[in-house]
Structures are given as structure tokens and as C-alpha cells.
């Protein structure tokens, strides 16, 4: 199970005054079960890229392959593809429309052809998985708070049981507490459901903690594609792209420059603490 982009380019409004190249010659493979982050500044092509992954946009050049099959080939069902590759858009709360939360989450499974009972079971599971309290299942989605709406919307995609879940800025517009909660729930989906997850964000800090692989987009091209700690080693270049490495990267690099033998690849505060303590103990036995 994998999605592969082969030399994919995309431009908007071809042949008009507003023509714009959003992506240039992208080569990328997303493997089954991988937890990946896509990072880029506003306008770097992140949102375009993920819409190519589930066939909502057709590449201007190049091919998108799902398990080796061209998704724009004849006879390929892109509706089936979208069941396998779930995509949660930015501000997904604006896609809610049903009378109550449970019905809204059922929309996806029912489109897959499940019966009412089966769809409801899937929906309940998905809602529990995103941490939606049971007493809210019967409420109108428009009465929920921002964070709850977001959960309901993510559950709406999750209920379709995709193999790969793509989330565009799932934490946008949430307070720090809500952000951490939603991100760690996504991480737990990865662990328990063995789902491949693609997390799109412009914030390094959010993503760094969770992902095993990080793709940095800049001006429509892939700038880096590596483990987070290796990507952050290029923190100077990242700054040129309008991105910043996590605060902790700067702290560790500064410490090292001043002679403390710490591990500059530390990503989380925990790791940094360990590394600093170790370095200090090494110095003063």
C-alpha cells in the first residue's frame, strides 16, 4: 500500500491572466503505516499537494500512482480511492451539515454503501476515537465548540476507515491545550489503527514531536525529505524559507557553540533536558 507521485507538476488557471505554478516536479512516495509531516510556508503548495493525493485535483504533468496503479487511468475509481485515502481539510468544521453529530459522521460510511446500523457503529467508534463525549452525539453540530466541531469533522473522515489519513492543519485555530490534545489523539490513531498519517502544517513545533519523516516544501518543490532531527540540522536554510526550527534546536545549537557537548538533534524538551543533564554531569563528575 503506497501512494507515489512521479514527476508531478500542477498549475492553477492554466491559460488565463492568473496562471500560477503551484507544484514543480514533485517525486514522493508515502508508505503504508508511515507517520509523515508536510511542512511549508503559506503558498508553498502544501494544500495542492494533498489534493493530488486523493484525486481531487488532476496533475498538470506527471502521474499519481496508488499501489502502482495510475489514479487517472481509465477505469480507476477515484471514489474508492477517497475511501482509502481520507482527507481532512483545513477548518473542517465548515463541512458539517446534518441534524446531529452522529448523523453527520455517518455521511461518509453511508456513501461507502454501508447499512444504517453498520454506518452508525463505524461512526460511534470514530467519535470515541477522537475523544468526543457520548452526550454530544445527539447534538446539532452547529452547537458544538470550535474544537469539538473539528473532532466531529475528523471523525467524519475517520469513520470511512481509510488506510491513509491526511490532515491539513488540524490544529489551526485551537488554543494550545486543544492543539496538543488533538495532535496526540492523531498520534494514537497511528499507533492503534496502524494507519498511515500525513500531517500538514506550517508549524515545526507541532509536527516535530510526532512524525517519523518530514517533507519540507518550498516554492512548490521539495526542499528536504528526511527524519525531523536531520531536517532541523538545516535550521539556517529553513529560516530562509520562512520556517523556523523548534525553539529547542536553537537552544541546543547555542549551547554547543559555547562548548557544552549536547546533542543538537534533540527535538522535544524532554530529550533536550536529558542531553543537557548528561553533558553537565559529564563535565562535573
Amino acid at each position: 500500500m503506497s501512494i507515489e507521485l512521479k514527476n508531478v507538476s500542477y498549475q492553477y488557471s492554466t491559460g488565463t491572466a492568473y496562471e500560477m505554478r503551484a507544484l514543480k516536479h514533485i517525486n514522493l512516495t508515502i508508505l503504508d503505516g508511515q507517520f509523515m509531516g508536510i511542512i511549508g510556508h503559506t503558498g508553498s503548495g502544501k494544500s495542492t499537494l494533498i489534493q493530488l493525493l486523493n484525486g481531487l485535483l488532476k496533475p498538470s504533468q506527471g502521474q499519481v500512482l496508488y499501489n502502482g496503479e495510475n489514479i487517472w487511468g481509465e477505469g480507476f475509481s477515484r471514489k474508492k480511492l477517497r475511501e482509502q485515502v481520507g482527507l481532512v481539510f483545513q477548518y473542517p468544521e465548515y463541512q458539517l451539515f446534518e441534524m446531529d453529530v452522529l448523523k453527520d459522521v455517518c455521511f461518509g460510511p453511508k456513501n461507502q454503501g454501508l447499512s444504517q446500523a453498520e454506518a452508525e457503529e463505524q461512526a460511534r467508534k470514530a467519535l470515541e476515537h477522537v475523544g468526543m463525549p457520548k452526550e454530544l452525539f445527539g447534538k446539532s453540530p452547529f452547537e458544538l465548540s470550535g474544537g469539538q466541531k473539528k473532532r466531529a469533522a475528523i471523525a467524519g473522515v475517520l469513520a470511512m476507515n481509510p488506510r491513509i489519513l491526511i490532515l491539513d492543519e488540524p490544529a489551526a485555530g485551537l488554543d494550545p491545550g486543544g492543539r496538543d490534545e488533538i495532535l496526540s489523539q492523531i498520534a494514537s490513531l497511528h499507533r492503534t489503527r496502524k494507519m498511515a498519517i500525513v500531517l500538514v502544517s506550517h508549524s515545526m513545533e507541532d509536527v516535530a514531536r510526532y512524525v517519523e519523516r518530514m517533507v519540507v516544501l518550498n516554492g512548490g518543490s521539495i526542499a528536504f525529505d528526511d527524519e525531523p532531527r536531520k531536517v532541523f540540522a538545516h535550521y539556517k536554510e529553513l529560516e530562509h524559507m520562512g520556517l523556523a526550527a523548534p525553539e529547542i534546536t536553537y537552544v541546543m545549537h547555542d549551547l554547543k557553540e559555547r562548548g557544552l557537548p549536547v546533542d543538537t538533534g534533540a527535538i522535544t524538551i524532554e530529550e533536550a533536558k536529558e542531553s543537557i543533564l548528561k553533558a553537565l554531569k559529564g563535565e562535573m563528575p
Binding site: A17, Q51, N54, L56, K79, R82, E83, G86, L87, V88, F89, P92, Y94, Q95, L96, F97, F107, G108, N111, Q112, F142, G156, V157, M160
Partner: protein
Amino acid sequence: MIRDITLGQYYPADSVLHRLDPRTKFVGTLLFVISLFIFHTFPGYGAATVFLAGMIGLSKVPVSFMFRGLKAIFVILLLTVVFNMLLTPGQVIWQLGFLKITWEGLMQAGRMAIRLVYLVVGSSIMTLTTTPNQLTDGLENLMGPLNRIHVPVHEIAMMMSIALRFIPILMEETDKIMKAQMARGADFESGNIMQKAKNMIPLLVPLFVSAFRRANDLAMAMEARCYHGGEGRTQMKPLKYKGRDYAAYGILAGYLALGIAFRIWGI
């Protein structure tokens, strides 16, 4: 999908027409439309063609953009032509059962087609070379005298510019919601008309919710900046006629005079 309609789509370029005062362009378009109905012979339409071609040339907008607006009226155009052709009494040149095409009908259909096409292309020139904001400014100014008889001109103009401003936003929003629902397996294409209408619910409900939310936000933002209607309100860029506007009015007067002359002499 809805992007075919050229009306209200500004094409940025640097031309004389772009720089003209919106009032001039509005009056000009109106006169051109009137002229289409004054001319009733083919030499007359020839004159209109020359005028229109000249304007298209001056506007520096690619010709394909001009004709994009025609897609939207294609059905109306087809109906007009067919009905005129079949239903005008006169000298019969082709007949099949109760259907008959007359020479007069053919002429009438040709005239209607030319008028409709020129009407759309002519007004497209205005909307392609004028930003919606300039257009409403111009309209507000032209309708100014109506204020005396208590027509809320400023409010109408404000509503128009807000409506125009929201068209692209709502279009983008529609696109976004549509994609989000498609990602959840929604199907907007297949099924009969009842099914299609039912399939629209997941699109329309969020769209209406978002339109109301936006309207609410905008009203709040306007009130927070003390908007209280048009009374005593001045403009940041007041409209002012320049030399080229007078020249344009001169050309328009000449063109209209030609049309009237054609009519009088019966050419």
C-alpha cells in the same frame, strides 16, 4: 465550474479603456446597447462591428475572454434563433410538416443573434476593464440625482459592491466544501434530478451557514468602524473626468449620430 461567466471578472491590463472613468464606460456601454437597437440593417451592424472591434483592440484584453461570457447565454441564444426562424410569417423557403423557415424569419433570427452576442460582448468589455469597485462608484455617482427623490443610492451601491466582492469568496467556498464532501465520498454528478438535488444538501447547508457567518462578521466589522450609511460620507478617490473621457464622449456622440443618421436615411 461557474467560472465561465465573464460578467464581473476584471482582467488586469494597462490600456486606455482601463484608465477611462467608470462613468464614461458605463454611459458608453449603455449607448452601445441602445445603438444595437437603433441599427436594424446589416450595414448598420457593420458599423457596430467596427466600433466593437475597435474597442476590443483598445482594451488589450485577449479576445477569448470577451467571448467566454457567451457560453452562459448559449441556450437563450439558440432558443431565440430557432424560434425566430420558425415562427416568423413570410416567404417560405423550407418546410417540413408544420415547421417552416421563412426568409423574414432568417433575417430576424440573424438580427437577434447579432444583437444578443454584441450585447454580451459589449458589456463584457466594460466589466473586463473596470474593477467592480470602480463600477459601483461610477453607478453611485451617476444615480446621485435620484437621492433627491429619496432613493437610497449609497446603500444600493454599497450592497452591490459587497455582493460583487462576495461572489469570488463564495465561489471559492463552494469549491472547498464540495471537495471536502467529495473526500467523504459524496457524489455530485450521477443520479436523476431528484437525487442530484438531494445530494446538494451537504453542499448547500454549510454554504448558507458560512454565508450568514461572513455577513455577520462583515456587519460587525463595519459597525466597529462607525459605518452609518452614506450621509456626509466622502470618497477616498473621488471620480474626476479627464481629457480622455471627453474624447471618449466625443467618439460616442459621433457613433450614436451615425446610428441615427442610418435610421433616418433608412440604410
